[in-house]
């Protein structure tokens, strides 16, 4: 009986890792759709929304995923009603903390996320942890309105015209 127990245990020890790895997504195919805040009037904070669909080769695609951008990790949400882009992850921060540029959002499954947390806790660089896939977010920056208001430009032009006319008249009268 004891022997049987050991056999089952060793069998499980052999099989379990492959089950765990089988859970992960092999050669993931990702279709993203990205939104970033572009106008300050539509949001006081900068918001990134990354939606994507995920198909895995020979594996389940209903994974629990985590995303990492700039060292901040967030859980990925699911909505199976949205057939096109069921996964969504959103980030928000003040405008100055998310300037324009390209951001890389890395995605991890549960094992990868655990490794990432472990690496972060021990102070190692998180780049050593391999992510499942990543999506690049190109943020063009937030438009806060024109640098110079049109009224100012109009006033300057009017002053310029007046000044040139005035100097022209002065030069006529003096000659």
């Amino acid at each position: 009986m004891n022997c049987a127990g050991k056999t089952i245990f060793s069998f499980l020890m052999l099989v379990a890792p492959s089950v765990v790895f089988g859970d992960s997504c092999a050669s993931p195919q990702v279709k993203p759709s990205i939104y970033t805040t572009t106008e300050a009037s539509s949001s006081t904070d900068t918001v990134f929304i990354v939606q994507f669909s995920l198909t895995c080769k020979g594996g389940p695609s209903d994974l629990t995923l985590y995303a990492d951008v700039n060292g901040k990790t967030v859980a990925v949400t699911r909505n199976d009603d949205n057939v096109k882009f069921p996964f969504q992850v959103s980030f928000s921060d003040e405008n100055k903390n998310l300037p324009s540029g390209t951001y890389e959002v890395k995605f991890y499954d549960e094992d990868g996320f655990a490794n990432l947390r472990k690496a972060q806790r021990s102070g190692e660089s998180s780049s050593s942890v391999k992510s499942l896939f990543s999506i690049e977010v190109n943020h063009p920056g937030v438009w806060k309105g024109p640098f110079v208001s049109s009224e100012l430009v109009a006033t300057l032009v009017a002053l310029l015209v007046f000044f040139s006319a005035y100097t022209a008249r002065n030069s006529l009268q003096s000659s």
Binding site: S33, Y35, T37, E39, A40, S41, S42, S43, T44, D45, V47, I49, Q51, T64, V74, A75, T77, R78, N79, D81, N82, F85, Q88, S90, F91, S92, G145, P146, S149, S150, V153, A154, V157, V161, A165
Partner: protein
């Protein structure tokens, strides 16, 4: 108009009616905020949900659903109005954002979103609660908004053209006489 609602309404476990030993129970606080400075017709409206778990254990299978943006009044630009998290660990928070576009102008009452979750092992009984509601907000007409905030470049150009005759005609007269006299050699 800036709408940032007063924080945090829901204490989901209040719904179960007793304030028992909460040490091991997940407790969620959820807020719904509209981040816009101005709500404008046909322009993006950013809605942010934040969920905090202040309880002692993880909330499982958390589901957020907002029925406050009907298709007749809003067009969904980005994000899902329904989201699920497998678990929210204690003392952590998650956030979720949705971008919608109001189809028409006028006053609109932004209501609370519904949130439900199951508390750990007792997965059959789901707790239901609500986020805070941002309240009523006025959605400005797109033309009205442009009249107040657009740079009016076209208007200024029209103004410049309209002032051109009164400046340009005397200038041309002067210029023609000047060039007439300037071109002649000076007689001494």
């Amino acid at each position: 108009m800036k709408i940032i609602s007063v924080l945090l309404v829901l204490v989901a476990s209040c719904l179960s009616g007793y304030m028992a030993d909460d040490e091991g129970e997940p407790r969620l606080l959820a807020s719904k905020n509209i981040l816009n400075q101005y709500l404008v017709e046909n322009k993006d409206l950013t809605v942010e949900y934040k969920i905090f778990n202040i309880g002692g254990s993880a909330a499982q299978n958390v589901r957020l659903e907002d029925a406050g943006f009907p298709e007749a009044d809003f067009q969904l630009v980005a994000g899902n109005v329904q989201a699920t998290w497998e678990r929210i660990a204690p003392n952590t928070n998650v956030s979720h954002s949705v971008i919608v576009r109001p189809v028409s102008s006028g006053y609109y009452n932004f209501t609370a979103a519904e949130i439900s979750y199951s508390a750990g092992a007792d997965a059959k009984k789901r707790q239901v609660g609500y986020t805070s509601s941002p309240g009523e907000g006025g959605i400005v007409n797109f033309k009205e908004f442009n009249r107040r905030f657009s740079p009016h470049v076209v208007d200024w150009c029209v103004f410049a053209i309209m002032t051109l005759p009164s400046l340009g005609i005397p200038f041309l007269l002067w210029w023609s006489s000047k060039s007439k006299y300037d071109s002649k050699p000076k007689r001494s």
